[in-house]
Amino acid sequence: MTDQPKSSDQVRFLDTIRAALGRADAPPVDFQSVIDNDLEKTYKDALAAIANRTVDQKKELLKNLEQAAQPLNLKVKPVKDIQTASASIAELVQSKQPEWGTHKQVVAWQHPLVEKLDLTALLAEHNIPVVFTEQLSEAATAEKIEKHRRQVRQSCEDAFIGVTAADFCVAETATLVMKTRPGCARSVSLVPSIHVAVIKLSQIVSNLKELYAHLSWDFTHKAEGLTNCMTFISGPSKTADIEFTMVHGAHGPREVYIYVITD
């Protein structure tokens, strides 16, 4: 059921379609009858089939991910635990130079896994600030929201590296999947020149079919929905618009790293 009365443009438009389909006077068709139930079932079954994947099988997926990532110029870094990930990311931050200025700053999601990296402490000794895209309280005034949004925008513009988590990573296509949640600003994986994502081994799924099976049929994901913005990222930004020559870094990040925590 819809919450709003139908606008006149919608009524007129859909009437035209009904007439074109030759069912202007037919009783309304139920949406459920349009859904291909057999197709849906194959996804539901696929999800059940992968419920008990062994550690070895999961490591196999990691290998597939590394293979798929290579031609995309996407770097996959398996690390045994969160400390190793932190150290490695801190090293990366030190070794890379900013694209747009000289000031080094990192922007990161306010997300449990990202916070566990404790990058603030690690990078403090090198005078590299880490700014988190904090979650606003629900009671925030419009003015406060505006100010907060401006700050987040500025931090993302100023940062040369953005650190995020992800919901899933698809091995076959090397695709990071991220829903939008409070504290997890979209710009962090978009505006800085380098995007670093941290995931756990268990978040790797084999292929797109498994991904869609999770999104549609996994209990928590089904309940949450896709959120108002779900993004798939398969490698760094690229273009081949000039004489079909592949160039990385058209608009989005020029480099993407995925740290996979295997323990």
Partner: protein, 476 residues
């Protein structure tokens, strides 16, 4: 406002064939991507037959468009997004202008969208004093050069790196270079400033999902994510046919789309957008408008002969294999849609008579259907359009193309319907050809209206006795 140049097809095609840079670019492009796409279909776990399944899915969606669009709109409303149903190009543009005026929008950044080309969006907004910047690198090049895209996915393939180097030196004030990475970096820098300053971001929609209430945008550059994340307002334009019922269908269709469009396993970025940012989110547009466009599509939907064309997801795979597109390029087609898809869609949208050369120019070789990720029978529809041109059609307001041609074919049909009559006709031809110029058993110029056929090649002369006659003589 909308630029339609379909009448210039033949003249433009001739021009294109004289352009050696374009010929080189088209040939190299088709050689690279055409076979690569075919190979990726072969490598699908389900095999190339998955395209047939995808075709069924798309047909099912098209035949339930009313239901799907209503559910899609309801779901987007629920998240605080607005949906406008535009019957015409003008309604769509006017709605967007109204939103722009309401918010005093001065600068728009735009992701690539064919439907906005179709409705003349850029021209209308620029006329209203609003700056519109195309952000896909290819589209940006085309916009700087004040041209129109010549390919759906690779809009600037007709330009050489030297052309682009000179263009950027002139328009962006950078030192001349023909190095693609340096040129790309220059555009990256210039457009980054545009993204940050824009008051509105505009995108198309590749394929919406009714069940979840999302549109999707697909790019490799990340420009559409930039356009739809940074500005405070996101306006998305969507042809009414670009929707399916359930999320599961996206798995199959996106795998095929990436293969058809760029022989990729997956596009660089795919985003599902289902409404504005909520107040507890730190970024993303605070307003989201979806404009669903008819603009002649319901007429295509009403005709079962052409309904199948609405399955198209505009991946441009057919352009990449078409022998005609491969010689004449995209501009000759005179409208937003070029290649085989353009040869069917354009006549249906702008008028079959007006765009008659488009459907008559194709070869019916069938390569487009084999390359199509949703297996659309384009050759069948090209023939159907030609039949309408031959006979005229009231429903589509088609005036018969040529009465003389019709009479000639009627006469021919009459001649070949009786063997004796046909034999007499051949004898007549045998006698008449003595007055026609030619040599070595070939005729180099046919008389009257038929001479068009011999303008670029000779025709074999009629033999003294027909094959049938000679066969009979041999047997006896």
């Amino acid at each position: 406002m909308v630029l339609i140049n379909t009448e210039k097809y033949i003249a433009e095609a001739k021009e294109a064939m004289k352009d050696s840079n374009l010929q080189k670019a088209l040939s190299s492009f088709q050689h690279r991507i055409g076979p690569a796409t075919a190979a990726t279909y072969q490598k699908l776990p389900e095999g190339p037959e998955l395209r047939l399944k995808a075709h069924d899915m798309r047909m099912r969606a098209i035949e339930n468009l009313d239901v799907l669009l209503e559910v899609l709109a309801d779901n987007i409303h629920r998240r605080g997004g607005r949906v406008f149903f535009a019957a015409t190009a003008k309604e769509a543009v006017d709605y967007c202008l109204q939103v722009a005026h309401q918010h005093r929008v001065k600068k728009i950044v735009k992701g690539k969208s064919m439907v906005t080309e179709e409705i003349g969006f850029n021209e209308a907004l620029i006329a209203a004093g609003i700056e519109v910047t195309e952000t896909d690198l290819g589209e940006y090049i085309i916009q700087l050069a004040r041209e129109h895209p010549s390919h759906i996915i690779a809009p600037a393939i007709h330009k050489t790196r030297k052309d682009i180097g000179r263009l950027f030196a002139d328009k962006l004030g950078i030192p001349y270079t023909d190095d693609p990475p340096t040129l790309t970096q220059a555009a990256r820098k210039a457009l980054r400033a545009k993204f940050m300053a824009a008051d509105m971001g505009v995108s198309g929609c590749n394929l919406a999902c009714a069940e979840t209430g999302h549109i999707t945008t697909v790019s490799n550059e990340g420009n559409i994510r930039m356009s739809t994340t940074l500005p405070p307002i996101h306006v998305a334009f969507m042809g009414m046919e670009r929707v399916v019922a359930s999320l599961e269908e996206h798995d199959i269709l996106f795998r095929l789309l990436a293969r058809g469009a760029a022989a990729q396993n997956m596009a660089g970025y795919v985003s599902y957008v289902g409404g504005p940012a909520t107040s507890d989110q730190s970024d993303g547009p605070q307003e989201f408008h979806l404009i669903i466009i008819d603009n002649g599509r319901s007429r295509i939907l009403a005709d079962v002969e052409f309904r199948e064309m609405l399955c198209c997801i505009r991946c441009a795979a057919c352009l990449n294999v078409c022998p005609v597109y491969g010689k004449i390029g995209g501009h000759a087609y005179g409208f937003a849609y070029s290649g085989p898809v353009g040869a069917v869609v354009t006549p249906l949208l702008v008028g079959i008579n007006r765009a008659k050369d488009l459907c008559q120019g194709e070869t019916l070789c069938g390569a487009c259907q084999d390359a199509c990720p949703v297996n659309i029978d384009i050759p069948r529809m090209l023939l159907a359009l030609r039949a309408k041109l031959a006979d005229g059609d009231k429903d589509w307001n088609v005036v018969r193309n040529s009465l003389a041609e019709k009479v000639a074919f009627q006469f021919w049909a009459w001649v070949i319907s009786k063997r004796a009559r046909y034999d007499r006709f051949l004898q007549l031809g045998y006698l008449a050809q003595k007055w026609m110029p030619g040599a070595d058993g070939m005729i180099s110029r046919l008389p009257l209206a038929l001479h068009g056929w011999t303008r670029s090649r000779d025709i074999k002369s009629v033999a003294k006795a027909s094959f049938k006659k000679r066969w009979q003589n041999r047997q006896s």
